[in-house]
């Protein structure tokens, strides 16, 4: 691939993500307000159920919940949106020589653009109202979010690359996302709620690791577990490599599969 082709592919990716983002903004009356309402409404629901009805003893429960929700929703929304990104672009493959990875990357960029303002508002609120002051420990947020981003990107591309061969996967993804929601420690503390012999299973979910790491920094004011974070990064990287191998190896197969 020559430099010009790379630049053209980059131009197309950025433009596609930008105008899809604008189109989504214009689709709803409340526009970008939904990006903030989504985690807030989820927080409200979980707080009522677990904080009030079930009287969770977890200190700083609001912040505890919100940390989990903010980290989780990036993963859940992007992977769900990316699931059919290649399979649903049949018409593009019949008309243009387009790289399949363009489509999940476009979804990733679009959702990242929505997620960053939410994250900024969240950190601002925590800095003002949180239990621990802003400190150098907060610099750990950068690698934590980088690991989460790697997992989001990796699983998005991997799932998108597999769906054209297994369309049933598109039905399975929301079910798996739902299962992972309960296995990420969003509304419970893994250390206290899960038996030690089962904790390894929960921490095999990179989202659980990133949520725990974020809580360590923002609520407990301490460094996260870097070894576990490294393992989560390895899982995300593995998913990314598998996805990239799929979209590269089967680049010539997708147009014929999708043309069924």
């Amino acid at each position: 691939m020559n430099v010009r082709k790379i630049l053209c592919a980059w131009d197309a990716l950025i433009f596609h993500a930008a105008c899809s983002f604008r189109a989504e903004l214009s689709r709803y009356y409340l526009h970008f307000v939904w990006w903030l309402l989504d985690p807030i409404l989820t927080l409200a629901t979980l707080y009522v159920v677990f904080g009030i009805f079930l009287a969770s003893p977890q200190p700083n429960f609001t912040l505890f919940l919100l940390t989990g929700i903010v980290v989780w929703q990036w993963f859940a929304n992007t992977v769900t949106n990316a699931t059919n990104s290649i399979f649903g672009s049949m018409r593009m493959f019949q008309q243009f020589k387009v790289y399949p990875v363009h489509f999940p990357l476009c979804v990733f960029l679009q959702d990242l653009t929505k997620y960053v303002p939410v994250l900024m508002v969240f950190f601002l609120c925590v800095a003002i109202f949180g239990p621990v002051p802003v400190s150098p420990v907060w610099l750990g947020i950068i690698p934590v979010m980088a690991v989460e981003g790697l997992c989001v990107l990796g699983f998005s591309i991997m799932v998108a690359s597999l769906v054209p061969f297994l369309p049933d996967l598109a039905k399975a993804v929301p079910i798996v996302i739902n299962m992972l929601f309960f296995a990420s420690g969003i509304f419970y503390d893994i250390q206290t709620a899960i038996l030690p012999k089962h904790q390894a299973i929960i921490y095999a979910n990179p989202n659980a690791v990133c949520i725990t790491a974020m809580r360590d920094i923002l609520i407990n004011g301490r460094q996260p577990d870097w070894v576990m974070l490294g393992t989560a990064a390895a899982i995300g990287l593995g998913a990314l490599i598998l996805g990239l191998i799929m979209v590269t190896k089967f680049r010539r197969v997708y147009p014929r599969l999708i043309s069924q």
């Binding site: 053209c8 197309a12 243009f96 069924q260």
Partner: protein, 246 residues
């Protein structure tokens, strides 16, 4: 200027089709297709529906890759496929869709954005260009497709049933614009059911039947054979139709 040549050697294209719950079959859209396209040549492709014409165009454009045989491109020609498939994102505006089409066709963003007003004027969409494509009629979407496709300056222009787009007035304008692009392109491959368009634009015809090359030769000779075959086929169908009726 490098002379180019595209050689198809025993090219086949097989689609996988899911049948039933667990099984899949296949459909050979093309089988053992062998021909050359040289610099400066104008090739028409004819055949009945399902003969593999559009598949062959997509193979030449590089959108599809053959499942058997090979396509050799000497001189690395830039091929552009101009077809009127539904390529738009319904929630994006006509402007955004047109720019995206140009970007995916290999243009840089600055060049694509510079051509927006040209596309607006050619498609006669006016303010509609800034509205989502889902608000367009079929004709408007086709005019936009043609306007976007004509912005690319290829070495080989591949036309797939694009000569009858829009109303009568637009068709005249479209025909002139397509002819202008044809003149600027070094080679042309035209798929059309209108044999008169093929005869007027092409100097050679490739006749496909059931995915295979039935004939390949000068326009007059192949067009005459094809016309005779179509007439004979119609007579046979008419006879069978009478027998069914009786």
């Amino acid at each position: 200027m490098t002379i180019f040549k595209i050689t198809c050697q025993e090219v086949g294209c097989r689609y996988t089709i899911r049948q039933g719950h667990l099984f899949s079959g296949h459909h050979d859209a093309l089988r053992d297709v062998t021909f050359n396209l040289t610099d400066g040549e104008r090739l028409g492709i004819i055949g009945m529906n399902g003969a593999g014409k559009s598949t062959l165009l997509r193979l030449l454009a590089g959108v599809l890759h053959p499942t058997s045989g090979r396509i050799i491109r000497e001189g690395n020609p830039n091929c552009s496929l101009l077809s009127l498939s539904n390529q738009w994102y319904p929630d994006l505006s006509g402007r955004d869709n047109a720019i995206l089409a140009c970007l995916l066709a290999g243009m840089r963003r600055s060049a694509a954005e510079a051509r927006v007003e040209t596309m607006r004027e050619f498609s006669e969409l006016g303010r509609w260009m800034d509205l989502p494509v889902r608000t367009y009629s079929t004709g408007m979407a086709l005019r936009l497709a043609l306007a976007a496709a004509l912005q690319v300056q290829p070495d080989v222009l591949l036309l797939d049933e694009t000569l009858g787009v829009g109303d009568a007035v637009f068709q005249q304008k479209a025909a002139a614009a397509i002819m202008d692009t044809v003149e600027r392109a070094r080679s042309l491959v035209l798929v059309s059911h209108d044999i008169n368009s093929i005869i007027s634009l092409c100097d050679r015809i490739l006749w496909l039947e059931d995915g295979r090359v039935r004939a390949d030769g000068p326009t007059e000779e192949i067009a005459a054979s094809y016309a005779a075959w179509v007439a004979a086929d119609r007579e046979v169908r008419a006879v069978f139709s009478e027998m069914d009726g009786a």
